[in-house]
């Protein structure tokens, strides 16, 4: 089914072009307005597709900046999906899109072997040949992935309130400890955490890499599970801004028929939830470590696109002794798997350079951000430590409560 977004709202003001991080650093991308609403008028007459479309990173800065409310990036993603129906995406894109499946496969092997297998010069050369830049630092698989870690973890008895956790692929395979930090904090706030294994990849990497059918399958599964928890009145929390955005606004845009019967397809933001716990007095932070700590915070594009403010930064600022500044330096350049691609690595690094410089110039070591791949890119670009705000929160609380 062809789905079209009415391009009429665009007044061609080009605000999105000015705000587009990709268009700023490369002429290979014709720009969001041109490939979005302008080209959409020609797609309606089947005029074909310019290769430049693959340079859209789906970072959503066009949507954020548009004064007329045009869904520029969704126009681009729908067009890419349509293009990929006729033109199969590359093997490289298949690999980058299907991280969940790969994570599942490698979970049967010891992680040091897998990571050595991926990070050694020969494998890097092979990946480079299929189109994954050898200059990129791919995230490393955790020695134990989230499902296994969660299974082994004993939550305190007698917790009466319940929440569900939707970890998303990054936390599942690469950063399970961040997920466990959330579980620990929620337990402390009096919530028992459920983790239904039926939840699968939100579909963002699948859809943006051109695997629409796979993304749809996942959406069907995820929405069914989400609806069941909704019905039971139990919130479903996510830590990943990109997963949240997929559920909240991309699933309804890409698969409107699936979203039709649901009042909302959105997950709850775990950061907002924790902030609420603090504000309601459920999570006591008065005992937190008060030693001075400077933090520079990076707001992921997909968090900014949701228009819910920066609850992660708000939490950090509530902590005694913590001085947190907002880097406010735009996109980091990674956009999921975009910056790992050979032809896009330099573009990603050029986009991120403003953020890297801001971090370096601030003189602050500790960086905080919610997004897993932003974190990978920030560490790659600056060498600074970068953590999820909740990890920092736990560190500040755990010292006093558990020691």
């Amino acid at each position: 089914m062809k789905r079209r977004i009415n391009p009429d709202k665009c007044v061609a003001c080009s605000t999105c072009v000015v705000q587009c991080p990709v268009a700023e650093v490369t002429s290979k991308f014709l720009g969001p307005r041109m490939l979005g609403p302008a080209s959409e008028r020609f797609r309606m007459l089947n005029a074909g597709e310019d290769d430049s479309l693959s340079y859209c990173a789906n970072c959503k800065n066009c949507d954020i900046s548009c004064p007329q409310g045009v869904e520029v990036s969704n126009i681009n993603m729908l067009a890419r999906a349509e293009y990929c129906r006729e033109n199969r995406p590359s093997f490289r894109d298949w690999i980058l899109a299907h991280g969940e499946l790969e994570a599942k496969l490698v979970s049967y092997f010891p992680s040091f072997l897998v990571n050595f297998g991926m990070a050694n010069p020969i494998s890097k050369q092979i990946l480079d040949m299929v189109g994954v830049s050898k200059k990129a630092d791919l995230p490393k698989f955790a020695s134990k992935q989230f499902p296994a870690m969660f299974k082994e973890y004993k939550q305190p008895e007698n917790l009466t309130k319940r929440v569900v956790f939707y970890p998303g692929c990054f936390i599942k395979a690469y950063a399970p400890q961040t997920g466990m930090d959330l579980v620990w904090l929620l337990n402390k706030a009096g919530y028992k955490v459920e983790y239904p294994e039926v939840f699968c990849c939100c579909g963002t990497p699948l859809y943006t890499n051109g695997f629409e059918a796979d993304a749809r399958k996942n959406a069907v599964k995820n929405l069914e599970e989400l609806a069941a928890w909704r019905k039971a009145g139990i919130p479903v929390l996510s830590l990943c801004p990109s997963c949240q955005l997929m559920f909240k606004s991309e699933i309804p845009a890409f698969f409107p028929d699936l979203a039709e019967n649901m009042e909302s397809t959105a997950l709850d933001d775990a950061m907002e939830f924790i902030l609420g716990c603090i504000n309601r007095g459920e999570l006591d932070i008065s005992e937190a470590d008060t030693s001075p700590l400077d933090i520079i915070y990076h707001a992921p594009c997909h968090l900014r696109a949701q228009g819910i403010g920066f609850p992660g930064l708000d939490i950090l600022r509530l902590l005694p002794g913590v001085h947190a500044v907002n880097a406010d330096a735009g996109c980091c350049g990674i956009s999921g798997s975009y910056g790992f691609k050979k032809e896009k690595y330099d573009i990603g690094m050029a986009i991120g350079s403003k953020l890297f410089d801001t971090i370096k110039d601030s003189g602050i070591r500790q960086v905080a951000t919610e997004c897993g791949t932003c974190k990978v890119q920030i560490i790659h670009g600056t060498g600074n430590p970068c953590d999820h705000p909740l990890t920092i929160l736990r560190r500040r609380l755990d010292k006093k409560t558990t020691k």
Binding site: P7, A12, R33, M34, R41, F42, L45, A47
Partner: protein, 536 residues
């Protein structure tokens, strides 16, 4: 004094069609046009290539001509015709009793009709009203009128045909009851030209009566104003007609990147009654909503109007009831030998009209060459190698559009783009690059940015000139294209012409666009002030 065999007055579809036909038959001819090519009704209609279905019941002969010419134009003018199709839709408001006689009349005229299941029709055209009662498929199509005329002109040029645009005829000389020549004024330079000839053909459309007035004669041409509305995007994939006796506002024609809704029919008191009143726009929307219920949610780009040169025999009906057939007058019957007038008809049948007229002219001249306009394509298809080369210098999805627009000039523009350091898009809404604009602007027939617009679609998309006009005038000034007007005046005229079409439908999303354009040019760039400053 210039000499030729035939002088043709009028550079619309008919006149240029005649120029091509005569040139192909080896008859020397010069065409004079007071404005730019196709500046009258040939570019001011809905762009429907009629199947004839619209006329089948009322004028079966005209319907038969339409379907025959429709099939010919698909063949010879592939670059100008979108090979779509048409639906005739019986809406909830239409009389079902019209259906049967219509189907029979179409069969009689040779128009293939095929009933389409309403559910299937709604799947193909989801924006149609779900309450429609019946749908038929017909071989309607859309045609770019302006481009078709230009491609005819290119073909004519190849055979030696000559055109002088912006030349207004002010006298037709005669001697002993026979035409001797034509005198015209170059409206750009003010120079006068005299052309001696044996035959004068008046193909001035709505201006035909004014032309014969020069020799003290009369013709039954009544200009009839038709208003049309252009929308920002295609919301149908095929031509949509109402299945009823043809009336106002009952045709939607998807056209390149836009959709056109037409048309009204009002008596016009002059041939250049090109103002589109707001009442007409509102009326069209009211009627159009019957087929497309969401019509008012779509953005209107602009409204425009043209005048049909209707043929009205003395004492017969005018307006929509008038004949859509064409008529040729040999004025030797009125005592002026060598002068012919052709008027009435429809864009779809322009080629046939030209053929019939040229047959008469050739008979008079004793030329026996056969008409070949129906067999030879207007322009040669671009080679696959050239298309591939173009993809390196133009956005890939714009290449077929650019090739179709440019016709013969496509390879030249591709080579030009290849030689340039870069070939940026100056008009993003309609995907026009600098190489194309520079080339067209340098053509001798281009005198202004508006002439460039007509051939390239510069400024005809979403922003209606807000972004591309400044970029274009900058580029043209930089490469020193000699236009009679100063850059500031050129820009002002261009924008005013764009804004003229915006005013009658100035609400909703387009009002926002207009405000942006006004802020950029009137406020920030003080476009009117710049002109006044130069005058002082």
């Amino acid at each position: 004094m210039k000499h030729t065999t035939v002088v043709i007055i009028g550079g619309g579809a008919t006149g240029i069609g005649i120029l091509r036909d005569l040139s192909m038959r080896g008859v020397k001819a010069v065409l004079l046009e007071q404005g730019g090519i196709a500046s009258g009704a040939s570019s001011r209609f809905h762009g429907l290539l009629h199947s004839g279905g619209r006329y089948a019941v009322k004028d079966n002969e005209a319907a038969r001509e339409c379907i025959e010419e429709n099939m010919i134009l698909r063949r010879i003018g592939r670059e100008c015709v979108e090979e779509s199709e048409g639906f005739f839709v019986l809406s909830q408001q239409d009389d079902p009793a019209y259906e049967k006689p219509w189907v029979e009349a179409c069969a009689k005229a040779g128009i293939k009709t095929e009933p389409v299941d309403v559910k299937e029709a709604l799947r193909l055209e989801p924006n149609l009203d779900p309450g429609i009662k019946a749908v038929y498929r017909v071989p309607d199509s859309s045609v770019d009128g302006f481009r078709l005329v230009w491609h005819n002109a290119m073909s004519a040029r190849r055979y030696g045909g000559e055109m002088l645009t912006h030349h207004e005829v002010f006298a037709i000389d005669q001697e002993g009851g026979k035409v001797k020549g034509v005198r015209a004024r170059n409206l750009v330079t003010g120079e006068e030209v005299c052309i001696s000839c044996d035959v004068v053909v008046n193909a001035a459309g709505s201006w035909a009566a004014k032309v014969v007035e020069l020799v003290g004669l009369e013709v039954g041409v009544q200009p009839d104003r038709g208003t049309l509305v252009a929308f920002n995007h295609r919301f149908t994939s095929r031509v949509i007609n109402r299945l009823h006796m043809s009336s106002d506002g009952d045709i939607f024609v998807p056209h390149g990147s836009i959709t056109i809704l037409g048309t009204t029919s009002f008596h016009a008191d002059r041939p250049d009654a090109h103002e589109a009143p707001t009442e007409d726009v509102l009326k069209l929307l009211d009627i159009g909503e019957v087929l497309i219920p969401n019509l008012r949610s779509y953005r209107i780009l602009r409204a425009f109007a043209g005048t049909r040169p209707l043929y009205v025999a003395k004492g017969s009906a005018a307006g929509r009831a008038a004949s859509r057939g064409f008529h040729i007058s040999d004025h030797s019957e009125e005592g002026l030998d060598g002068m012919f007038s052709i008027f009435g008809g429809k864009f779809t049948t322009y080629r046939l009209m030209a053929e019939k007229l040229c047959d008469l002219v050739c008979e008079k001249l004793g030329v026996h060459a056969e008409c070949r306009t129906a067999v030879e394509p207007l322009i040669a298809d671009p080679s696959p190698a050239m298309m591939e080369k173009a993809a390196k210098y133009f956005p890939v999805h714009s290449v077929p559009l650019v090739a179709n627009r440019l016709g013969d000039a496509f390879p030249i523009v591709v080579e030009k783009a290849a030689a340039m350091k870069s070939n940026p898009l100056l008009c993003e809404c309609e995907m026009v690059t600098r190489a194309e604009i520079e080339y067209v602007a340098s053509d001798p027939s281009s005198h202004s940015m508006t002439d460039v617009r007509l051939r390239t679609r510069l400024g005809m998309g979403t922003c209606q000139g807000t972004y591309c006009s400044l970029r274009t005038i900058g580029a043209l000034t930089e490469c020193r294209v000699p236009f009679p007007l100063s850059p500031a005046d050129n820009l002002r005229d261009f924008l005013q012409e764009r804004w003229k079409g915006l005013r009658p439908a100035l609400w909703g999303l387009q009002a926002r666009e207009m405000e942006l354009g006004r802020a950029v040019y009137a406020a920030t760039l003080n476009i009117d002030g710049a002109r006044d400053e130069q005058k002082n």
